[in-house]
């Protein structure tokens, strides 16, 4: 029993670390990030990962060792100790400091991404509407004003220019939804009754060979991450990132489509 239990406890840190070590090659890892603030978030993630890994291995390791060593049959009495003040101080102060370091290192990134005062000054490029169970993006159309007859409505597809600050306003038509693009490290709940400004800037373009290809049109999944009903699982969208030139081309196409008189699809 003793050996078996030790082995089981030993497997916890070993397999625990191994699954994280091999995660990326198995596809169990975060997708590569392409936004300007993505690397900041990743840095914080890794900072915590290393600290957590250290304490994980330390505590689980000690647990394994103590269970193994002190479960040996022994009729003598154990150590009569009610504690050790110095140790208590040590393992209060040191983790405390580390935790405060973690806490304070988060603040700038959080403020940068979410504080209203830090929103880029560009006008919103679109209003994004979440509803049961559909993402729809509304662009201002040729007149440049939202809410007029020539607005361009794009179901499912949110096309944005790269290498620019993109601001959009997130709405919900009915219940709570959430706008999540994993590759952007961006998430924001859509709340009915609120119009929430969100920003990002895609400044990386990685094609299949890992090379930079700014001319490629890149697609990123948009996922709803707040339960919105039975169709929550299929409320998919796509963010399509194009160079500014190609974005303008696409927008011109859409605006022309709005002005269509139906001839082109009459074949």
């Amino acid at each position: 029993m003793r050996l078996l239990v030790t082995l089981l406890l030993f497997l916890v840190p070993v397999l625990g670390v191994w699954t994280f070590w091999t995660a990326e090659e198995n596809g169990w890892w975060m997708p590569e990030t392409v936004t300007t603030y993505g690397p900041d978030i990743d840095y914080l993630f890794y900072l915590i990962l290393w600290m957590v890994a250290f304490f994980f291995i330390l505590t689980e390791g000690l647990l394994v060792w103590f269970v193994f060593k002190y479960s040996k049959k022994d009729d003598t009495k154990g150590v009569y100790s009610h504690g050790n003040h110095k140790l208590e101080l040590l393992w209060t102060v040191v983790p405390g400091i580390l935790l405060l370091v973690i806490a304070f290192s988060q603040m700038e990134t959080w403020a940068d991404i979410k504080y209203r005062g830090n929103l880029p000054k560009t006008p919103p490029i679109a209003h994004v509407w979440a509803s049961q169970f559909d993402w729809r993006v509304q662009y201002p159309g040729a007149d440049g004003e939202f809410g007029t007859w020539d607005d361009v409505e794009s179901p499912h597809l949110f096309v944005v220019p790269s290498d620019e600050d993109v601001v959009f306003i997130l709405h919900s038509r009915d219940v709570l939804h959430s706008f999540f693009v994993p590759a952007f490290r961006l998430k924001q709940d859509a709340v009915p009754g609120m119009a929430i400004p969100v920003w990002f800037n895609v400044d990386k373009a990685i094609d299949e060979e890992g090379a930079e290809d700014k001319e490629a049109i890149r697609l990123y999944d948009l996922i709803c991450t707040e339960l919105c009903g039975w169709g929550h699982y299929k409320m998919a969208g796509r963010v399509e990132v194009r160079s500014r030139e190609k974005f303008d081309e696409w927008m011109a196409e859409q605006e022309a489509n709005v002005m269509s008189n139906g001839k082109e699809d009459q074949s």
Binding site: W29, Y70, E88, L100, Q132, K187, I223, C224, H232, Y233
Partner: protein, 617 residues
């Protein structure tokens, strides 16, 4: 008054639970230390009074335990259906498929899936973990461990159990109403939960859900009042606060958490009930139309905020998770100490850290809402408090390790489960740090990393602690011991399968898969996670069926288990002074407490344990 000798075990007087030393007619006095409740006459209680509407804390504790175990089976079955769908979506579900979904060839419907995870979470939290830890163990152990004859308010205690029963009724009945059971998640965010047209479960099932929660809350409040009063007022002479076992500290702290947090949940549940049935609009924004139905039609009010529910709900529900985990920590501490034959390392830090966890637990609720649209400045404050709450938990982990160092560990079933508690709580606690970091939480929120985290703390933590508690205190409850071999087999399988089930959810979450999804592979990008989900599901099925060892062991041992005396574990705390099982009034002699609860390996005596009630001159 002459003092008759202490009756030996097995004598009828002791087993009847009567105190033969007490003078006739002496009534109990609350607040007078050292008084003992006396049965004022010798009548035999009727079956109903003894087993159904009992006012005896031990029987009430057992009622909570049995009910909790049955609901654990139900909650687990719901989880099995969830896991089937995640591994093999839209295929014929075994057992229930043909019965419920003949038109689709046995494949479940998407709305059924939303109902599954909602009720799984609700049942597990409100009808399994909280009743088992605070209801069962709280009731059973508090008077025994502090040397009291019963709770301060025995009748209120009974009402506490029976108030939960209508809650059970509503929870189970909700499956059979039109539209099915609640389907808005156990978090029940409006407007999905308040607008009847938003989800099938929001037609009637959600109202039943709210009623179930309200009754469960009444039950918990009754218990909390009792526990707090009993611990403050009814400790035996010599039992100072700093001589109480950590189990009692933890249950006392949990009771205080209940007292301060639960009224908020009750209030907000009533608000949601009113929104649903009385046309109020606490959570309904203006001009809301869901699924073609205007929320303001037929004179219903609006102008409310969905975020209001989130704030108030989490104001309770975050302390709720500490209500669950703190008693588990307390029990695990005691069990570790007993079976390691060594005092708890750092008793005062352990007690203070539980208080810190509880106190901090009131100011962290916003970490569930970082992405919710609330003012981002709040994200900053909640982040700091949430990250700091990791500190007392870390202190506890180090102290548990300190307890094991230099110990003489006996690998009994109880001990195995308590050690597993520590190992798995470490994982759950550490993953919490990522979530506390607000920018990182942008990615993590509502993904499977959250699911992994809370299953590690609730299953890996509280469930293993519950098993440890059952193995450990079963002899006191029933006078018999559970079979050790079966206990070890149960442990090994549960440990392996629990880790196989929940660990890989971290990876799935890192890949970005969102929670509460009926079909992960609706997104091409997650198609490669199917083998992993299959592995998890198979582990989950094995975990579920492996509990057969425990269930068999538990019920068989009640009737056929090996009989034991008062103190089979050679433990020091007061409950082991009473007969196994204790009768009315619990103790058959006057108690006085001389030492702390963890005098193991004491140099003062030859044995490796020194009971709290034993005086050494």
């Amino acid at each position: 008054m002459s003092v008759p000798p202490i009756p030996s075990e097995g004598s009828s007087a002791a087993s009847e639970g009567l105190n033969p030393r007490a003078p006739e007619g002496q009534r109990k006095g609350l607040g007078a230390e050292g008084t003992v409740y006396i049965e004022h006459d010798h009548h035999e209680l009727s079956f109903i009074k003894k087993y159904i509407f009992s006012v005896d804390h031990k029987m009430i504790g057992l009622q909570f335990m049995f009910t909790g175990l049955v609901m654990l089976g139900l909650g687990g079955a719901l989880a099995m259906a969830i896991r089937w769908q995640l591994a093999w979506p839209w295929t014929e579900v075994p057992v229930i498929g043909e019965l419920l979904f003949p038109a689709t060839g046995g494949a479940m419907s998407p709305e059924f899936y939303t109902m599954l995870f909602t009720m799984h979470g609700t049942i597990m939290i409100f009808f399994v973990i909280i009743p088992m830890l605070t209801g069962a163990f709280g009731n059973f152990l508090i008077p025994l461990m502090i040397g009291a004859p019963d709770m301060a308010f025995p009748r209120l205690n009974m009402i506490g159990y029976w108030a939960m029963v209508p809650g059970l009724f509503f929870a189970i009945a909700s499956f059979f109403v039109e539209g099915g059971a609640a389907a808005a998640g156990w978090t029940a965010y409006p407007p999905l939960s308040t607008i009847k047209s938003a989800a099938p479960g929001s037609m009637s099932g959600q109202t039943y859900w709210l009623l179930a929660l309200t009754f469960s809350g009444i039950s918990s409040m009754a218990g909390a009042v009792n526990y707090a009063t009993t611990v403050v007022k009814m400790r035996a002479p010599g039992m100072t606060l700093m001589r109480m076992p950590l189990t009692i500290w933890s249950l006392f702290i949990a009771a205080l958490l209940q007292l301060f947090a639960l009224p908020v949940l009750t209030a907000v549940s009533i608000e949601q009930i009113l929104d649903r049935v009385a046309g109020t609009g606490f959570f309904t924004p203006t001009n809301l139309v869901v699924n073609q139905v205007n929320a303001e039609g037929a004179g219903e009010a609006a102008g409310g905020q969905p975020l209001l529910w989130q704030h108030l709900f989490w104001f309770y529900s975050h302390p709720a998770v500490y209500i669950m985990v703190v008693p588990a920590m307390g029990m695990a501490s005691d069990i570790l100490s007993v079976h390691a034959r060594k005092p708890i390392f750092g008793y005062k830090p352990m007690a203070y850290s539980m208080m810190a966890i509880a106190g901090l637990g009131f100011i962290v609720w916003g970490h569930h809402m970082f992405a919710s649209g609330m003012n981002p400045a709040l994200g900053m404050t909640f982040m700091v408090s949430t990250i700091m709450i990791a500190l007392p938990s870390a202190i506890k982990v180090f102290n548990w390790l300190g307890t094991l160092w230099g110990a003489r560990i006996k690998l009994t079933s109880a001990m195995l489960n308590a050690i597993a508690f520590v190992a798995l709580f470490i994982i759950g606690g550490l993953s919490g740090i990522w979530m506390a970091a607000t920018p990182v939480d942008i990615y993590i929120h509502d993904t499977y990393i959250i699911v992994a985290h809370f299953h590690y703390v609730v299953f890996g933590g509280t469930m293993f602690a519950i098993w440890a508690g059952i193995y450990h205190w079963f002899p006191k409850m029933f006078g018999r011991i559970m079979n050790e071999r079966l206990g070890q087999i149960h442990f090994v399988g549960s440990f392996i399968f629990a880790n196989c089930t929940f660990y890989m959810m971290h990876q799935i979450g890192l890949a970005g898969l969102m929670r509460r999804t009926a079909d992960p592979y609706a997104y091409e990008v997650y198609a490669h996670l199917q083998p992993l989900n299959e592995f998890i599901s198979i582990s989950a099925f094995c975990l579920f069926f492996w509990q057969g060892f425990f269930v068999f062991n538990f019920f068989w041992s009640i009737f056929k288990g090996q009989r034991v005396g008062r103190n089979p574990w050679k433990a020091t705390t007061l409950e082991w002074d009473a007969p196994s099982p204790p009768g009315h009034g619990n103790f058959d002699r006057e108690l006085k407490v001389y030492h702390g609860p963890y005098e193991y390996a004491s140099p003062l005596v030859d044995e490796d344990y020194l009971q709290q009630t034993r005086s050494v001159n």
